[in-house]
């Protein structure tokens, strides 16, 4: 483990001291020296995730595909989303906006004397158990992510954005990052603030993000797999999450209002939104406006979905009489 850490940190340090650090110094922005070093690690982790998806997860999709036929051209745009997100291009843009906001909120609270709690203070035993402590913070983070996800489906203007993620008819391991940048911004801001409030460490946050996103990439895989009868109740897998992307049908108008959990299905089990029936269903959204996202490129999707969002936040009396695609399809 020590050798792996040395190798990882050695590469990070070399990349930073060779390419990034000198630029920061030349620009006279040394106050950003440490954050820039961490950004290099973020990009490295992104490259590693892409490698795991392309070489590991894709193997299972190729070997045991669930949907053997379909328009594979629809998948290409999801690869663009994955690269833009994992290599930090979208996260960097989001960071530039969210960082000052989250900082201001945190600093305001701390200047009032409010400091984020550490669960280790309530449960001292956790302080000596790094893995247990990490798992507690991971579970808390996932709890917040579960309720955010429910909000993305329940609030019309948020659904207008989030529906882009659900519009994919050819769901694969590349689909997890298929989100509108505004949707990414809102969820990032909320989760960063939540993490600060409950006391997640910066290092823990990065690990939670990486492990969580890998689980989520796998849960979008085009395979009929799970972690077993008990395992699928502990960790979200492709069979569980595919139901959440299911195309609504006359018998199951609310089918996608289930299995929201990003990583730990316990939230769906506790709050009555879990379904384990093992049925195969096609994916997508039964709204022609949203379904039209399929076949569009990254930029066109971003523009048209932002248009959907604008219409959704426009007061009802100012809207045109018929505005498809504004409501969650369950309604």
């Amino acid at each position: 483990m020590g050798e792996l850490t040395d190798l990882w940190v050695g590469v990070q340090n070399w990349l930073f001291e060779t390419f990034v650090g000198p630029v920061i110094f030349w620009l006279g922005q040394m106050a950003w020296y440490e954050p820039a070093y961490n950004a290099v690690e973020f990009v490295m982790l992104g490259a590693l995730q892409i490698a795991v998806i392309a070489l590991g997860m894709r193997f299972f999709e190729k070997r045991w595909p669930l949907e053997k036929t379909g328009d594979d051209r629809l998948i290409g745009v999801d690869r663009v989303y994955t690269v833009l997100n994992k290599l930090g291009i979208i996260p960097f843009a989001i960071f530039v906006i969210t960082y000052p906001i989250s900082q201001e909120i945190e600093l305001l609270m701390r200047s009032w004397g409010m400091a984020p709690p550490r669960i280790e203070r309530l449960v001292p035993w956790l302080g000596d158990n790094v893995l247990a402590s990490f798992l507690v913070y991971f579970v808390l983070y996932d709890f917040a992510a579960y309720w955010l996800h429910r909000a993305q489906h329940a609030i019309p203007w948020w659904w207008a954005l989030h529906s882009l993620h659900h519009s994919q008819r050819r769901m694969t391991v590349w689909s997890d990052d298929r989100n509108h940048v505004l949707d990414d911004f809102l969820t990032t801001l909320a989760l960063v603030l939540f993490s600060q409030m409950v006391g997640v460490q910066p290092g823990e946050y990065v690990t939670i993000l990486v492990v969580g996103r890998l689980v989520e990439s796998w849960s979008h895989a085009n395979v009929d797999m799970s972690f077993g009868r008990i395992g699928e109740r502990l960790l979200v897998g492709p069979r569980f999450h595919r139901l959440h992307h299911a195309l609504a049908n006359p018998e199951e108008r609310h089918i996608h209002d289930h299995n929201f959990a990003p990583v730990f299905p316990i939230w769906d089990i506790l709050f009555g939104t879990a379904i384990y029936d093992g049925k195969h269903r096609p994916t997508g959204v039964d709204d022609p406006v949203i379904d039209a996202d399929n076949g569009r490129g990254w930029a066109v999707q971003q523009v048209t979905v932002f248009g959907r969002f604008l219409r959704a936040i426009t007061p009802r009396f100012l809207r045109a009489p018929f505005q498809p695609g504004l409501r969650p399809p369950a309604e």
């Binding site: 020590g2 850490t5 040395d6 940190v9 050695g10 990070q12 340090n13 930073f16 001291e17 650090g21 000198p22 110094f25 006279g28 040394m30 106050a31 020296y33 440490e34 070093y37 900082q103 600093l107 701390r110 200047s111 004397g113 400091a115 984020p116 550490r118 280790e120 302080g127 000596d128 006391g199 460490q201 910066p202 290092g203």
Partner: protein
């Protein structure tokens, strides 16, 4: 049973010996501190502490060492001989850098992220005054009379002086790009300010903040630590990846040691033979042999190691030179009979 008792006794003896020569290192991005053995150059333990611990400082009586947890607004006090936890001092807002005035009456913290300087009565840590100041206040130094604290402002490129008794600003002047470490030289007439956005240190007049000279050390000059003879000081250069040795009497560079990985805080062993330097980016602490002037070991610790401190420091010797932020310094046997 007898064997078990012998083994337990031996273990306790080893732990005891280890604590006696222990070095504390703050892992700023892991909310932990490492305890290292000076003799074996290994990590003995990694213990939890608040959140985002950056710097630490012994108390004027030398009995405790205080660790500032910036994100949990508190200080953790450890026994400076054994490293055992003693108490938590709460409601110290964003204690990024800590320091005591030479007379031990004032305790000052700078809130790097919250942009303020807090001046406390050291006895009881009662807040005397808070001064808000823009520009990322980061490092500090005190004058010999314990009347003034000098604080570098990294983002605005300035150095500010505050009157301790009245908690008011005396002056605030530009000194160079990204000033960090501040050092009051023993003559009490010159301040040195490490310029992290440049490649050396500025010499500043403590009366008015006027820059009177410059000395090139290396790119990203960041922090100071005394060699112990009252004349030579080490300067860590974060971008250059080196530690410079400067002669503050003749104001010249006398040596340079390659220390990769963003070298930052330093401490020297009591015998004056080794300098320990945190390597922020490599998650290690470098051990520099000062006779050979090179790194002879690098010890793995936690993420982003920042402050480093040798236990068993003892109380300050009267009139001894002080560490950059004013903490007491133990006697070192450098042959010159001086203290650091």
């Amino acid at each position: 049973m007898k064997r078990l008792a012998i083994a337990a006794t031996m273990l306790l003896a080893v732990v005891g010996t280890a604590k006696a020569d222990a070095v504390l290192v703050l892992n700023s991005e892991e909310a932990s501190y490492s305890i290292l053995s000076r003799a074996t150059r290994t990590e003995l333990a990694r213990l939890p502490v608040g959140r985002e611990p950056h710097h630490l400082m012994p108390t004027p009586d030398g009995k405790e060492v205080l660790i500032g947890s910036t994100a949990t607004n508190e200080l953790l006090a450890l026994d400076s001989n054994t490293g055992d936890r003693r108490r938590v001092i709460a409601n110290i807002i964003d204690p990024y850098q800590l320091g005591f005035s030479r007379d031990g009456k004032w305790f000052v913290t700078v809130a790097y992220r919250l942009d303020h300087v807090d001046i406390f009565h050291a006895d009881g840590f009662k807040l005397a005054g808070r001064i808000f100041i823009d520009g990322l206040p980061s490092h500090m130094a005190f004058d010999a009379e314990s009347k003034t604290v000098f604080v570098s402002l990294q983002q605005s490129g300035r150095l500010a002086a505050f009157d301790l008794a009245t908690q008011t600003l005396k002056w605030n002047v530009p000194v160079g790009n990204t000033p960090a470490g501040v050092l009051m030289l023993p003559d009490n007439n010159r301040l040195l300010v490490a310029l992290t956005g440049e490649d050396g240190v500025a010499v500043v007049d403590p009366k008015d903040g006027k820059v009177t000279g410059r000395l090139q050390t290396g790119k990203g000059a960041h922090n100071f630590w005394p060699k112990g003879d009252g004349r030579h000081w080490f300067v860590s250069n974060r971008v250059e990846g080196s530690v410079s040795l400067i002669d503050t009497q003749d104001m010249k560079l006398t040596g340079s040691i390659k220390v990769p990985g963003g070298p930052d805080c330093m401490d020297i062993t009591a015998d004056g033979k080794e300098l320990w330097v945190t390597q922020r980016f490599l998650r290690r602490v470098a051990v520099v042999d000062l006779e050979q002037m090179k790194v002879v070991a690098s010890i793995p610790v936690g993420k982003s190691p920042h402050g480093v401190y040798m236990l068993k420091s003892g109380p300050a010797a009267p009139g001894s030179p002080v560490s950059p932020a004013g903490g007491p310094l133990r006697a070192v046997s450098t042959g010159s009979g001086t203290t650091r």
